[in-house]
Symmetry: C2
């Protein structure tokens, strides 16, 4: 039976969830599609474990096999196992770091597929991105990144399929941050903006520093990935972002005796009147505020900003922490192709990566 | 370079569109993924043409090579070409007929993949469906049918990926008829139901006999396909359908001197008061009427009927002829995964089939 040898870089929430999904699915996949899946290696920030051929499951960190992390060595181990079994090598990067992204090209050139929810390659330097894509073309090893946009929501794959079939995309736009979606779905006239941010923070929906969400960089990365997907050669910095962090607070530092998140929402309250005015204006026009990333193919431009949408627009119907992505094209007209739903969280992010792993396995049988 | 040899059964709107998409995409695919695509055979209702190896494109029906249609012979030709080149065989059924579906099992057993927008296998006898699935498991040849539900919208594939990753689906429900979607999106209080049906008919959105749409059989087929996808062993007849055709008109025949469609909407006018009352009741409750197919995993039941939905429900936000499908699951909670957009038409249906062809090609490199 052909075997897929998987090396996992990053063993946090998503990495562990993915290992769980893979191990639980393996017996059924063997039976149904006749392909075996094995865990060849795992790594976390400082250490890694290279596992022997035949490792079918992993229920905890393999402490006894732990050694100093060396991602080049990890990649080689996975490729070697695949060569020995006549199977295939796949490296999954579950980090949010640039370090593994620097190695994608080499891994692909060695014949290993790479799957990842990490946005660094797709939104990092164009020169590195092009080298990665070229390595994939040269060797036929696949670079797969469905989970970089909208987590498990089917966004990247369907867009790729549509373009390959010959459709011509006009615009891609959407709400790509679960945190900002929650904030703008919750915020109603009469409620203070800083109170909504505080609630999102208290519920654990924001990063420890809420500015990491409000600044829009995460959305900027996703928009860059989508823009490149439809052929624009742009860098992250070419995507202007209208940050929701007031200018004075961008470099502000919390007093030493206070928690950063709490202190920040206190500071934010000073800007509530400004924000409330925006919401009231929108409400008067029967519109809603949404933090939207968009790519316009004709002008070749992409942007991330707060926009106003009529109450019967698809973006107005988002609830809770929904992500939503709308593709308008020659074929998807007069109405766009829209995908909507939870676009963050370990289970659905791992499921997005798993859908890429399934593509590889389906091709092996 | 590995070659995919494609035999096309059915050369109507979708078949011709697909040939166009394939031929236009072929040079780019050769360069980008290193796989060649060739047209091995085409058939229409009574005739077929078996084409020689190396047929890279087809701009019109190959009249000079025409012979009497024989789908078994066609399948063998495609499989033979693939064996000779060391490539892969794929048969695409673009018909809506049972005849090719009867051969899927044999084609899969011979090692050919089968891709189709034809709903007959997925919603036909369970015994045939199981044989098809078993043949695919045995040989590793793939049975692919993304375009059977929602045309090009990514519905079947994402659902399969989610289930394989280990998610547990609670319900799948949606609006799966572009025609009925248009009718219920257009129909407003004060407008007669029969006038809306007439408008849809005049715009060419309905079948020549509008009862084929209003009866709900097409939706019943799609719901059966989705129900089987999530593990229910049900037959088409196990899915109750609340037809929108009044009982007396179900067996009614048009007078010989009148066009069926025109005569039917005239007859339908007698039932307008009944229908209008339904709409007014819904409107009073701030709800809309939608013709919805649904599968409930817990009860093991599926149904197709007119339902009422609050105006802030995703189904209420459909416009024009949108299809929409919502999947609620252990992971997709509290909000479902929703896919929405045009779910009918030759271009997007062919694109749905093309996405399946791309899966096969990606596995060949």
């Amino acid at each position: 039976m052909p075997t897929l040898h998987v090396g996992l870089v990053g063993y946090g929430l998503v990495g562990q969830e993915l290992v769980g999904q893979m191990c639980a699915a393996a017996p059924k996949l063997e039976k149904e599609i006749g392909v075996r899946i094995e865990i060849a290696a795992v790594s976390r920030s400082r250490t890694m474990a290279l596992l022997p051929a035949g490792t079918a499951s992993l229920t905890e960190w393999p402490k006894s096999q732990e050694e100093e992390a060396d991602l080049k060595k990890l990649g080689q181990h996975v490729v070697d196992l695949a060569a020995a079994s006549g199977g295939r090598a796949l490296i999954v990067d579950n980090t949010a770091s640039d370090t593994p992204a620097e190695l994608y090209e080499a891994w692909l050139l060695a014949g290993a597929d790479v799957a990842t929810p990490n946005k660094r390659a797709g939104s990092g330097p164009m020169s590195r991105y092009e080298k990665i894509m070229e390595a994939s073309r040269q060797t036929g090893a696949r670079f797969l990144y469905e989970a970089t946009v909208g987590a498990g929501l089917p966004v990247v794959g369907p867009l790729q399929a549509l373009l390959r079939a010959g459709d011509e995309v006009d615009t891609v736009e959407g709400i790509f941050s679960g945190t900002l979606s929650y904030i703008f779905n919750t915020w109603k006239p009469g409620v203070k903006f800083s109170d909504v941010v505080k609630e999102a923070k208290d519920k654990g929906f924001t990063e420890p520093d809420p500015r990491d969400d409000l600044g829009g960089t995460d959305v900027q990365r996703k928009v860059t990935i989508l823009a490149r997907e439809i052929g624009l050669k742009i860098e992250l910095d070419d995507v202007p972002v209208k940050s929701l962090v007031p200018e004075k607070l961008q470099t502000w530092e919390a007093p030493a005796d206070k928690k950063l998140g709490d202190a920040f929402v206190e500071e934010l309250a000073a800007y509530d009147d400004e924000m409330d005015a925006l919401l009231e204006e929108a409400e008067k026009a029967n519109e809603v505020l949404r933090f939207v990333g968009s790519v316009d193919v004709k002008s070749g431009k992409a942007s991330v900003k707060l926009g106003r949408y009529p109450k019967d627009h698809p973006f107005a119907s988002t609830q809770f922490a929904d992500n939503i992505c709308a593709v308008s094209s020659k074929w998807y007209t007069p109405r766009p192709l829209v995908v909507q739903g939870p676009g963050a969280g370990a289970a659905v992010t791992a499921a997005g990566v798993f859908s890429n792993i399934m593509e590889v396995m389906n091709g092996m049988r």
